[in-house]
């Protein structure tokens, strides 16, 4: 596998980076970097770290880093995950308020501890910390329950002062969304599976409306809705499929059960990612009160279920 880190990857321009990912020869990883500057979204870091976990350090070829921002990768603990010596020395400093380094979460208890630790680390007002811990908990729990990955979830996050944004990346190398949804539904493509996963009421664990005792099939819809209300980017990449929620245009807030009704872009031809990757930005300037957002979300959810029920109504036969 090969990954090249260009000088800038954020969710708005992530498509060319993903297009350049070479998933061939899964027993080795080659990393190359922009020589001058790298500004990369935590989603990218989580991807590389999760790939590195299943590859022997001797099979990882890492180009010598020259970019002045190379220390960032060290600080985020990327080389710890790859188990290679980068030759970069840094002075460790308190991460509070700035970043959450790459962290591997393999079970429910570790997730609970992570969420507890993350909240004070972020040093945010309650109205900002609330959606962030919500998003992290739901996304990581999704990995633990559906991805069937022996390595669990790899998560990282970074606060960007200039844009006053928290950027979060979560990656796994599990079965991917298509296989998970295909347990109970029949998506034809990775993109169709992603669409189903984002639609409220659809879960891979059952065909029934309302889900099971464990899964409602609404988790990703909630997260997409949080991003949509706050006019933030949200990206989900699995197999060859990519769904990207774009920033809202205009002030009118509308939530849609159908993710393709939101302002978005899609791809169904990317190099295949074995597993699922999610990236989300949360702008702290536009964060709405969480309870207000939930009220709006409830309305959309109820309308969506009614619509879905209506679709299954049997018609009277008139002769």
């Amino acid at each position: 596998m090969k990954i090249h880190i260009p000088n800038s990857v954020w969710l708005g321009n992530i498509d060319p980076f993903l297009q350049g990912f070479d998933p061939g020869k899964t027993d080795r990883l080659e990393l190359t970097f922009n020589k001058k500057w790298m500004s990369i979204h935590p989603m990218v870091l989580s991807m590389i770290a999760s790939l590195g976990l299943s590859i022997k350090p001797s099979k990882i070829k890492c180009e010598k880093l020259e970019a002045t921002s190379k220390h960032y990768l060290k600080r985020m603990k990327l080389f710890d995950f790859l188990k290679i010596n980068s030759g970069i020395n840094i002075t460790e400093h308190e991460s509070a308020g700035r970043f959450i380094p790459l962290t591997q979460i393999k079970n429910s208890a570790a997730l609970t501890k992570f969420i507890t630790d993350v909240t004070p680390l972020l040093h945010l007002e309650a109205k900002h910390a609330e959606p962030i811990r919500y998003i992290m908990s739901e996304l990581i729990r999704n990995v633990l329950e559906h991805a069937m990955s022996k390595d669990g979830a790899i998560v990282s996050a970074q606060y960007y002062k200039k844009s006053n944004t928290i950027r979060i990346g979560i990656a796994d190398t599990g079965i991917g969304i298509w296989k998970s949804i295909n347990e109970s539904h029949n998506p034809k493509t990775d993109l169709e599976a992603i669409k189903m996963a984002l639609t409220p009421g659809i879960t891979g664990t059952t065909k029934k409306e309302g889900g099971t005792d464990r899964n409602a099939g609404a988790g990703l819809f909630f997260i997409k809705s949080i991003a949509s209300v706050n006019s933030d980017f949200f990206v989900i990449y699995s197999g060859k499929g990519l769904y990207k929620l774009l920033k809202r245009q205009g002030k009118k807030i509308e939530l849609h059960a159908d993710p393709f009704m939101d302002r978005h872009s899609t791809r169904d031809d990317l190099p295949g990612w074995q597993g699922t990757v999610v990236g989300i930005d949360l702008s702290l300037d536009t964060t709405q009160e969480f309870s207000l957002l939930l009220g709006l979300l409830n309305k959309t959810l109820k309308e969506a279920i009614k619509e879905r029920k209506k679709e299954r109504y049997k018609k009277p036969q008139f002769t």
Partner: protein, 96 residues
């Protein structure tokens, strides 16, 4: 009547579905089977996920119907927790 103080089991952010399931199976279902009322006390809990609340109560609504809501009192919920519980309760009533 049984009074369950959730904070002791889940901490300030109720997100662990395994814990929710355990509470449902070990405390809620046995109490309802004995026709006892339940107080689910959210004091000191400042947030919850939809997944946690779903794992806690959705199966009760499936098993006992929405009449089960007459037997459960949700106490000391802040606005966020109230909103999440309302979403799950409405979602289940629309779905079942």
């Amino acid at each position: 009547m049984i009074h369950i103080k959730l904070f002791k089991e889940v901490g300030p952010f109720a997100e662990n579905k395994d814990t929710a399931r355990k509470i449902r199976l070990k405390k809620l279902i046995p109490a309802l089977d004995k026709n006892r009322k339940i107080i689910l006390d959210f004091e000191n809990i400042d947030g919850a996920t939809q997944s946690f609340i779903h794992a806690l109560i959705s199966d009760l609504m499936r098993k006992y119907g929405n009449e089960v809501l007459d037997k459960i009192e949700f106490k000391s919920c802040n606005d966020t927790v109230k909103a999440i519980i309302t979403i799950v309760v409405d979602y289940m009533q629309e779905s079942i």
